[in-house]
Symmetry: D2
Amino acid sequence: MDLFEKYESNVRGYIRSFPTIFVKAQNATMWDHTGKTYIDFFGGAGSLNYGHNDPAIKRAIIEYIERDGVTNALDKATDAKYHFIEKLQNTILKPRGLDYKIQFVGPTGTNAVETALKLARKVKQRSKIVAFTNAYHGHTLGALAVTGNEFYHDDYYGVPLNVTKMPFDNYFDSENQMDSIDMMRHYYEDASSGYEVPAGIIVETIQGEGGINIASVEWLKKLEKMCRDLDILLIVDDIQMGNGRTGNFFSFERAGIKPDIVTVSKSIGTGLPMAIVLMRPEIDQWSPGEHTGTFRGNSLAFVAGAKALERWDNDTFSKEILAKGAKVEQRMKAIAARFPQHIGDVRGLGMIWGIESPVEGFCGQISREGFERGLIAETAGATDQVIKFLAPLTISEAELDKGLDILEASITAAAAKHPINE
Amino acid sequence: MDLFEKYESNVRGYIRSFPTIFVKAQNATMWDHTGKTYIDFFGGAGSLNYGHNDPAIKRAIIEYIERDGVTNALDKATDAKYHFIEKLQNTILKPRGLDYKIQFVGPTGTNAVETALKLARKVKQRSKIVAFTNAYHGHTLGALAVTGNEFYHDDYYGVPLNVTKMPFDNYFDSENQMDSIDMMRHYYEDASSGYEVPAGIIVETIQGEGGINIASVEWLKKLEKMCRDLDILLIVDDIQMGNGRTGNFFSFERAGIKPDIVTVSKSIGTGLPMAIVLMRPEIDQWSPGEHTGTFRGNSLAFVAGAKALERWDNDTFSKEILAKGAKVEQRMKAIAARFPQHIGDVRGLGMIWGIESPVEGFCGQISREGFERGLIAETAGATDQVIKFLAPLTISEAELDKGLDILEASITAAAAKHPINE
Amino acid sequence: MDLFEKYESNVRGYIRSFPTIFVKAQNATMWDHTGKTYIDFFGGAGSLNYGHNDPAIKRAIIEYIERDGVTNALDKATDAKYHFIEKLQNTILKPRGLDYKIQFVGPTGTNAVETALKLARKVKQRSKIVAFTNAYHGHTLGALAVTGNEFYHDDYYGVPLNVTKMPFDNYFDSENQMDSIDMMRHYYEDASSGYEVPAGIIVETIQGEGGINIASVEWLKKLEKMCRDLDILLIVDDIQMGNGRTGNFFSFERAGIKPDIVTVSKSIGTGLPMAIVLMRPEIDQWSPGEHTGTFRGNSLAFVAGAKALERWDNDTFSKEILAKGAKVEQRMKAIAARFPQHIGDVRGLGMIWGIESPVEGFCGQISREGFERGLIAETAGATDQVIKFLAPLTISEAELDKGLDILEASITAAAAKHPINE
Amino acid sequence: MDLFEKYESNVRGYIRSFPTIFVKAQNATMWDHTGKTYIDFFGGAGSLNYGHNDPAIKRAIIEYIERDGVTNALDKATDAKYHFIEKLQNTILKPRGLDYKIQFVGPTGTNAVETALKLARKVKQRSKIVAFTNAYHGHTLGALAVTGNEFYHDDYYGVPLNVTKMPFDNYFDSENQMDSIDMMRHYYEDASSGYEVPAGIIVETIQGEGGINIASVEWLKKLEKMCRDLDILLIVDDIQMGNGRTGNFFSFERAGIKPDIVTVSKSIGTGLPMAIVLMRPEIDQWSPGEHTGTFRGNSLAFVAGAKALERWDNDTFSKEILAKGAKVEQRMKAIAARFPQHIGDVRGLGMIWGIESPVEGFCGQISREGFERGLIAETAGATDQVIKFLAPLTISEAELDKGLDILEASITAAAAKHPINE
């Protein structure tokens, strides 16, 4: 590990939470260089929904490489890209009635977000974008402007320009809180409020990094309606919550809404770098080459992604996700019941779950205890008040059980180290 | 091709210049779905310096996948990353006396640039960054702010904040032009000039997208000296010109300067998405996790990149680059001599060359003629006034000769279509 | 009037509402060039609280001019300034326990606001300022940024930088609205809300231009407490509501709060250009000359202002204001009762009153009817939904009665022209 | 003086350079409370071109007050305003062929500048404004953005948005400097320079605060031509250099140019607060009331200003200015010849002159020596390297001689305190 300390920037993070060298991974299990195994409840922060090294995907990639397929084509056409587009349209978009065009962007989520925001501003010829409290959309300057956590900001980066922050659903957590969509509507309909109608509103239907905050179906529908009424583009950032995480392919399906723009990344390439932006055709007002980037044509990710989408040919996968999610929920709630003073809330949906603790440092302790016992699990939320479950959707029953057992043991150990003084 | 038109965003660009579907590539040769071959003088815009599908690199990647190496590890430690760091330090940095720490960033050049700018601002606690006329650094908002071409900008994206544009070396192209570094020094030493000392200055030693504009060694040395004198960080964006393009590994080696920060991407992962930022250790003032991203741990790129760096174990590769470059220069100048009214300038260095034409539309025509004849070559410059040579450094003599022959034929054909009326 | 149309900019405004040439004025009566008289319920938008051409003030000014007193001294010391400072401290500030230093700024309200905002930002070394919905603070870029009405804004002026708009007291006008101070506190205590603690909060205790919106005493106290708790500077813009308008000298006295910074202008110079900023001594962190301006030493205004402050030597003036205000309230409410469908609300305090109408164009019609009948009265609010009473505090009983009679007649006439169709 | 120290903000400036209380002033002579007299070479920083308390002006003001003329009318029409407009058009604008409309703005120079910049941006629908090195245009945020001196800026005020600084004529002071207008033209004609064509360019034909820097006639003509060619509005800030300072009424007359917008303040109201913006009629695209302010109708200034303009009924005044200026020049150059090591340059035009010293602190010392001996004279330039002559244009021969004598004595005394060590 000395080499990393000596030569890698101080910015390195997860290596500090999980200080070992990983050498192998299969589905939800990882091996380090000493041979120790870990159950992966972190899942590459949502980029490994299809598990590590899925055999079918491996085979597809290797075949492509062996036959000298073009690996980097910028945005020239390749057979790899052709098949990916075809598969995404036929398997995912058309069956859901989503008439979207696809933009291949630089293969990072933050690039997809920047693209979506630029496009919304260009199309509407308005500068303002609305984002929500606790939102997380990335770290390049345009995306950072819509990301809430002040930890990522610095006065000298330049002000987060042209962004209005609004309270996420249920943000104030109080009886008499005002619905934030009523707030916005009031502002935008009052010419003297000091609030301009934005070009677009960017929302995560479930805030992952922000602490597993789930927007209600009612709120999402109301948000969509306001956007339609006031001619605002609705942008769903589905980078972490899409790709089946909630049981459906897109996280917004549960609300029955149709965003104008959707950002997709992480698992869309099965963990290989890839990001796309989906948009209604009439919004696709780009000039050729107006937003470019070298790695927009990462063919290995196209090949892998197309293969992975086969899981969505029927509804088996979706059902499995929900079944596993139900088990996670049941186990977590049982654990929570054992530690009522340490655990304030268990919340989630499909295969995204969080355990929130009012005890400072408790969730960080769980993560450390877990690592010791062979579990990879990270915290979320501005004060790391949540321990997050983001395991591969393909996790086996055995892996899941083992992981949940370790989680329970870790919580028990953490609770012992954080006694409640009453 | 209908599928792309129907489903891919209008933003698609190179597919319009080279309208066919590519299915195979080997070193500097590409095959389309009809079996037609093309010599690749474009080289993935600088990301394929080691050619398409190098056999040794292919083998390394496949082996890694077959043994279930971790493909996406965020910034957890993996053996793939370990070996890449070790190789980069031992083969490249140490022999050049460059004591740099490495930051793995989101795998796009624009992310590397954003990271460098954020870091410079954070470290110096100043907002301003200087960039140059015709600079190209990427398309996310922070990087876009330092990119000159107005085609990429829109009023509603928000103003390019905190950026001062200065003339690149020899920009004004006139007898009595003032040296831009004297200009800057004068501004910064005058408290009433309205110019603040910036946190950093970002420079391409050769502007590729800007039109193959080559900064002189003298100017680069003078720039470095001013940065030292006035406590400004010198950032070299070596994304397109690094990785051996100029004959040396880094493009700034020819000037004998040592930047404070260097951005590297494109060929560093042999065409697989990867980007890093190199920085002097004392500048590495990040907090853990302060700049993150999902795909910072693209192991396949680490494996491929480490393998590619073996070419730098001795100076053979460097010599080959210079030898091939000399041939390119000789051929291009001979062609230019045949078309004195169509070709205004031939300029370059190592394996980066450009032919500039004063005739509007001429270089675009060359590109089209080339495609027809089996050559992939793109234009550069704000008005596409340059045809650019960016072939793989590994291109074979045969491929090179064939490509140059097609280039000459294409120029001849283009000249016939653009007669000069005197 | 042709001369004005031909040579004065289209921006001219009140000349359109009151299209005649005024040649004489005494207390609350104005004469035009035809000899017609008007009762002035507009009072120079709050700059004529002491009436037009008060005899004692006239005498003081003339004496000063006749003895060749220095009229423009920049910020050199003059006897005129000496006496003004002395009078303001002894008669106003000390008796109220307000330990403020005085800054003489460029003689406009907008300059006082700019100064206050610059000072708050400089002292706290934070960029953000909070302002409220419907706020009006002036038209230079810094002040415009905190002014709500979009009519005054243009995309190309530059974004209203570093300003957060918050709902004014009772803004949402709904049962379940959240207290805006609870909102702010929640935001500022959540590091991931996307809201930074501001340098200062600027507030009008009663929004005049915004539509005579009155902040409750409870809300103002709560605002002050939050500012103290979170180390935010509380700035009261008392430009229109100060100088006795509400019965007390400062409008914030009714709430028992002590702002950190107070902007004062309009009647402080009895209608001659003058503006000052009051600040707690520990906030006075300016360097000499850091905020300057040519007309900071308008001696005629100092002489006039010092004379006017004599009215505050005892509490007679204050009692008169309240007595007159009570009459205004009574008459207005009686009028409102006659027109329940045209008049939605009558609200005010001291000598600031507004009649709000839900009928579009109704208040503009009242203004026009009034002008015809010899009354100067203007509208307020983003949609001109309020007719505003801002008469000189010194208005005679006879003038007041006459004015209110004309107002009633004008409302009657306006109502006839805006029949309600049910 | 204790009262000022105790109660006036630390920002007070000139009171520190001239620490006494002034009680009387006549033409170019001031009296303090001890009876000591001073010759005024500062002239209210250009606002007292017509001298202190001109008898004819005094009489006009007193008459207006005595007949109860309206003193504050916002922008309602008054006879005072009528006569001012008429006089300005007939005596100044028409004879010079200047077809300008007049906008009355808040009575400060900074407000005139803000108005000009807002108007230019609104009319051209572009954000950028060009201003020059060492420019001084005021202290509200919009005007501050075009003011060079960093002393007036603070990181937390917000970035000086949308402003490009360009070198003033002869700025680099070197043989091979590039003409700044050629620079701009090059930038604006290159789509990839990173420089956008601005809405307007604001320029002082002579920079007063910046150190008496005189733009050449040739440069001003060339600037105007570029503005015409590239559809940029030319804004002359004539606040300090207008009103006859250079011999002509407007400072730009000597170059034979016709700006699109002109800002005028200071002496236009003879030292009483007033500011106007002149603009070509087709640029007058304001909506009614779009830029407002309480003190736009300062009638005393209209009355005084109209009276003062009578001096321009024939060319006598202009000739007097030039004659006095010639004497100033001669005396100053003679003094400079006596102190070749202390005085580097004497420069000026009409009645604006500056003596520049390469010796640090020398000019400040002259100012202090002068004050002791009965002279009010201030420094200019970013490092106070210039002593500035801005006496009333109406100064008597006797006052002028006396002042120049004191100046010479003060320079002699200052030189003795700053011996040159060689």
